[in-house]
Symmetry: C2
Subunit: 399 residues, 2 copies
Amino acid sequence: MNIKKTIGISNDFWNVTAASGMAGIVAGNLGAGRYTTRADGHEFLNMSSYSYLGLDSHPALIRAAADAVTENASLNTSVSRMRVHFGILRDAEDALSDLFRVEAVTLASCAAAAWSALPLVASGAFTGDVPPLMVFDKHAHFCLNAMKPSVADEAEVRTIAHNDLDALEELCRTHPNVAYVADGVYSTGGRAPVRELLRLQEKYGLFLFFDEAHGVSTCGDQGRGLVLDTMGEINDRTLIITSLNKGFGASGGAIFLGPRGSRHRRDLALRYGGPLTWSQRINTAGLGAITASAELHRSPELKELQLRLQQNIDRFDALVPTAQSGDGLPIRFIDIGSEEKTVRIGRALLSEGYYTSALFFPVIARGKAGLRIMLRADMTRTDIEHFGRLVNELRSRND
Amino acid sequence: MNIKKTIGISNDFWNVTAASGMAGIVAGNLGAGRYTTRADGHEFLNMSSYSYLGLDSHPALIRAAADAVTENASLNTSVSRMRVHFGILRDAEDALSDLFRVEAVTLASCAAAAWSALPLVASGAFTGDVPPLMVFDKHAHFCLNAMKPSVADEAEVRTIAHNDLDALEELCRTHPNVAYVADGVYSTGGRAPVRELLRLQEKYGLFLFFDEAHGVSTCGDQGRGLVLDTMGEINDRTLIITSLNKGFGASGGAIFLGPRGSRHRRDLALRYGGPLTWSQRINTAGLGAITASAELHRSPELKELQLRLQQNIDRFDALVPTAQSGDGLPIRFIDIGSEEKTVRIGRALLSEGYYTSALFFPVIARGKAGLRIMLRADMTRTDIEHFGRLVNELRSRND
């Protein structure tokens, strides 16, 4: 990690971002990704929202969240969930397990899911008690990378270039037991080559560990995500962690441990899964929203929202070409280069009513800064077209 | 860690615990620590609840949680809190900062607070850019111990015996920059020698890192916890993490970064604080409950609840002597020895309507199993006396 060095390189960019009013914005919710600043009532649309289907504003989920708090008359059971938990926790995990056709457990966040599941996989608990060689994709999310020191306590760790199938196959050829750790959909754009990875799994028995925080809800039939939609059914050489807060519109995260009914894995995860064992579960509000969201994922509304999202992606791609154009995913990176210019353009967009995320080191390499765009199903055609034209104008004007 | 070895030693005990109905209980809430099982409607009082003041059932907190969801019409802002967050998040952190007279930031759990703060302290960010020697108390909570590999990436790590002031002072004498990592109140009973640690801080400039998950609300004026109550005011050589879910009765966790107005520390934590930077914040339900709980902590009701808790602790101590008797804290460990006998007694207590937590390896050493009792302010005298007599009877009968 070397936090000290990271601070030295990027803290000034953050100071510039904050000084320009692009960080730490305190706002009230207007719905559908729109906010109004507390300081001066400036209204803006968040063009970098990970609620891809707009479920963070869905009335049925909000109502279910509030009702769950009132009905349970508590936020949790004040004892480890391993010991005593509310029926609503069981119901939410059953709803997830049924929807995704997996054995699902829930945690306070997707990062907690990584903390829980990665050392357990590294210990060999899911691969016949033999610790696998743990191979990380270089672009795997921070919450996965941050676990490398703990993973290295249990198994050997390697890092390979992004989506480098040749390097991975070479390791599979030379090691009897390999686990690959990657995102399904990458938070800075792009995806894992899931079909090719499944071929390596079939050929070598490769264990696959995916973070599907940006894939679930967004992709696949009933929002099952990129990985499960490609696989059809999960197998016992695959583990998926995900957020239930992003596309899914609720709170917390989950681990899909394997096929529905993987009792032994479930026991091991609950007993030896770090934060799953001794840390907080999702509160009743989040659990209520999960159950409501699972129901919505089974309804025709889900498909409709996914279609609207696709239309918005196409509209954006038609106006603003990016390296990700045409990949069908809602994440776009507008590369600008200099950190200063990135903040300047972001600031100008915000004045016009559009918030974008300025990304720079350590999220991406130095001198390769830009704006991350994340599209939502509930953005209007007018907004996307206006925003796209503004981006193009500002980019050329500042060249 | 060696998860594989841990599983080999303790998984059978968990199987016995589960088979006896002491794990994975699905229950509905009856309030004041009472539950009814979904399976057969058996009613029981949780004698091992970390809601020491009974705030998990407080109507004002529950109402505030539900109202916050409805009023914000969302569970969160679907973008990093560093970028855009609701006014209610700012309000909750202001309320905490004012109540504890610290600079507070909130996260999804106390474990997330450890993940966020420990590597940052190890990097030297809070000690003049010089990484300190990181000294862990052997009994520091799992969430602290689990971070050792990541901490070791930034600084040298040592582990010393529990509350070993001599060993700590020796390290202070021989190293210019030392940080000590410990619990304020230990989850298995006992406390840190805070006064003595403050003397070492004064003498050597020792940096102190406390987990106050079990101290906050329970101890001190306005529930400021064991550490802050002893210190008076926090100083810039002390950092505290805590849960807002246990005694505090809400959701999530917090980092007390230093004195109120520590702007530079706050910026560093938000920008380089791992899950604080890129993971989930507390949802609006939890934030509503935090604000309501902070208000309650400032009211006379808090003192009253603390007094009732103390009465219950005294009642229990008078009936069931333990190694912790008379320490004024609500955590008691009834040592039994054999794992089997522990589960047998726990099972018998549950039939009589009292749930206790059976503790064994890896939480405590092998062959030193027992039942953890955690007292609440809202337990009745009748229940405590009945329970105490039952425990004494069962222990002698099974000897």
